[in-house]
Chain length 473, copies 2
Amino acid sequence: MEFWSYPPAFDPGYRPDPKSRYWFPVRETMPAAEREKAILARLREVMTYAYARAPFYRRKWDEAGVHPDRIRSLEDFERVPVVTKAELRAAQERKPPFGDYLCIPESEIHHIHGTSGTTGRPTMFAIGRDDWRSIAEAQARVMWGMGLRPGDMVFIGSVFSLYMGSWGTLIGSERLGAKTFPFGAGAPGMSARAALWLKLTRPKAFYGTPSYALHLAEVAADEGMNPREFGLELLFFSGEPGGSIPSIKARIESLYGAQVIDCGTMAEMSPWMNAAGTKETPGMMLWQDFVYTEVCDPKTHARVPYGKQGTPIYTHLERTSQPMIRLLSNDLTHWTDEPNPCGRTYPRLPAGIYGRIDDMFTIRGENVYPSAIDSALNEIAGYGGEHRIVISRDGAMDELLVRLDATEALYRAGAGALDDLRRRTEDKLRTVLGVRARAEVVAAGVIPRTDFKARRVIDDRDLFRSLKQTLGG
Amino acid sequence: MEFWSYPPAFDPGYRPDPKSRYWFPVRETMPAAEREKAILARLREVMTYAYARAPFYRRKWDEAGVHPDRIRSLEDFERVPVVTKAELRAAQERKPPFGDYLCIPESEIHHIHGTSGTTGRPTMFAIGRDDWRSIAEAQARVMWGMGLRPGDMVFIGSVFSLYMGSWGTLIGSERLGAKTFPFGAGAPGMSARAALWLKLTRPKAFYGTPSYALHLAEVAADEGMNPREFGLELLFFSGEPGGSIPSIKARIESLYGAQVIDCGTMAEMSPWMNAAGTKETPGMMLWQDFVYTEVCDPKTHARVPYGKQGTPIYTHLERTSQPMIRLLSNDLTHWTDEPNPCGRTYPRLPAGIYGRIDDMFTIRGENVYPSAIDSALNEIAGYGGEHRIVISRDGAMDELLVRLDATEALYRAGAGALDDLRRRTEDKLRTVLGVRARAEVVAAGVIPRTDFKARRVIDDRDLFRSLKQTLGG
């Protein structure tokens, strides 16, 4: 049965015919205008619900002169003030532990997770029992769209801790009726064992981060295995932009002989698969019927037209414990309403989510995204797969250094080949970024790999600044 | 509703009155003789089920001249040949991936886990959808007995990967209606963050290994926290014998200001909490109505009388995917049928499970258990909390060296105090083990801690042997 209501209701025994392309055919393929009408009704319901239960929202909206009853169009909704992560943190500090935006009694909390920041106060997610089921339902729907069916084996190769990526995939896979293999990641020695288990069990799908998939392929090679022996048909990724970066996607698809599908937005937005590709549709579609996404001007927070670039602002349509209403992502993307090959009538992010606006840095006046450098390097023959971006200041001038490793073969070929790789890299970076960058080539494998999300930018200018502060300069 | 049948049936909405001491009052408090009669009926049902579906069991029992129909007493059942871990491994090699003891269609497999051995072929657990629910039900029952109630927060501080300990606790906690906080463990830096989260969220219960609880207390102290600030009421442990070793238990209870409860048998036996203490009953009771445990002579595999020592042999009474029927643990314990303070009518292991018979080593003809050394050290003032056991051969004589660390305070007190600690340790070890051991005291904190199970024995004799083999000696 295909329900669409708020609070949400689901038939726990429901599963579509395995031959059906869609989990909820009506919700996924209805005309966009009809869906928007329904979304508007949902938005009013969620706002009314939150206004009655969350002092956080009541205060915020009263101050802004906004009220659930007066939201009569999606344009009206654009005037609802955005929620920032800093506000959530402050609300939890004011009312520990879960903040004054928790809309259910504490006794109904089913799971606790949180942000995995290593410094400062983390934000806690208190997820209700009903929400846990809604999350599972939505994640199962999206994974169905990827081509997963009951009985398929799903290998989860990401750490099970605070990180919602692993848990969302787990419960989606369980709800879908797959064989779920929650292997995890993160502990020393786990990658070699993951490779062994992949070879033994030959799952249909792998979930993790793009960085980890690349690392795991190297570990497998070290163990004398070819990742193609795992027999995977599909790798789906979140947590990093790599799954939508053509050169990285192609590299992983060729290493594993399997399709790469990108998905995922923010842990706070669980079911975070609300932006996701399908078997037939590359990039990420915005599954608007469970999380309503507006791609907005980063300053005015009003929607930009299709075809334009902006930052996603997300609103839960099926969460009751800590519903997020216009959560500002500070990510950057562009969207389109062109038809999707899979027939779903959702808007799409054809190039996925580029990364966080905060990740952007400025070199001599030019904005540079780390993901653009990652993308460029992956197009260069002889690139060994890992790099670091070091930004420094030489006098008044910003300097950009990209330290990359070479493949084994190229490194063994000697100084001439290395120098050639260096020159090719510098040319490519100048073309792609529009600024001059120095490249430095190091031996294969010496730059540490990650089993989680890559952290590659080293900004020595910040170091300089904080040093000056410490010294009272 | 309180069901007891095979295959098992449960009411997913059932939860006892929070004031009830028991989850299933009838099953937990019935006269032992009456329970044994019901167990006999269950045993025949499980055997009939497995005989019809698993070539593994049919072949094994036909060869031994055993048949489900002819099991008319618990004594008859003692003649059913035991299953060893090596046989399970061989069965999976013969019929990959899950072996010819899988009793459900592959399409009904819900979760995949396995043994976490670092060398050789691992064994895979294929757990069916119904079994996953039965496991959750049983684990919830036992956790209820520990005093956990709906709405209590349970912090799971063990790695989520192959290890069934974490998963069993997770689904038991979910089924019970607790707030489940699956924090995990194992990745670098996680312990400091665990301490921060424990302080922020103040859960009622912590689950992990005793070694990790000791390690975490040290990490918390390094971070300027006192583990008592976590406000825990309960720590429950599995995976190591520590939770039933009085000196270790006392040390942890004093560090955290909370009660320690021991539980757990083998991953294969999930619901592995089948041996577990309760709020009122120390040691471990054998929850015979979902896993039937016989404490047996390690050679004859017949039950030893109550009061005697033997090895547990386990039989699933509520599993349908890969039911274990007389799985040999090779652990060592002793059992009693004396009444339990909590009123449950189960047999009990008053000193828990000492450890694996395989862990035992022989020094100059004396059998020594690593857990006995651990226990002894924890009674010594000035012991810093970690040690290694090094066995070597000097000519024809085995040498036992225990390398232990001192507390910060004792280490700073200088050579005299260290020498005194060394002497006290040697005296204690001689008394407890009956053999002479050398002690070597090192600085506080230099011996690596673990966030999983401690591996403390270094047998240089094996090294010597394998070296000789390699050299063709």
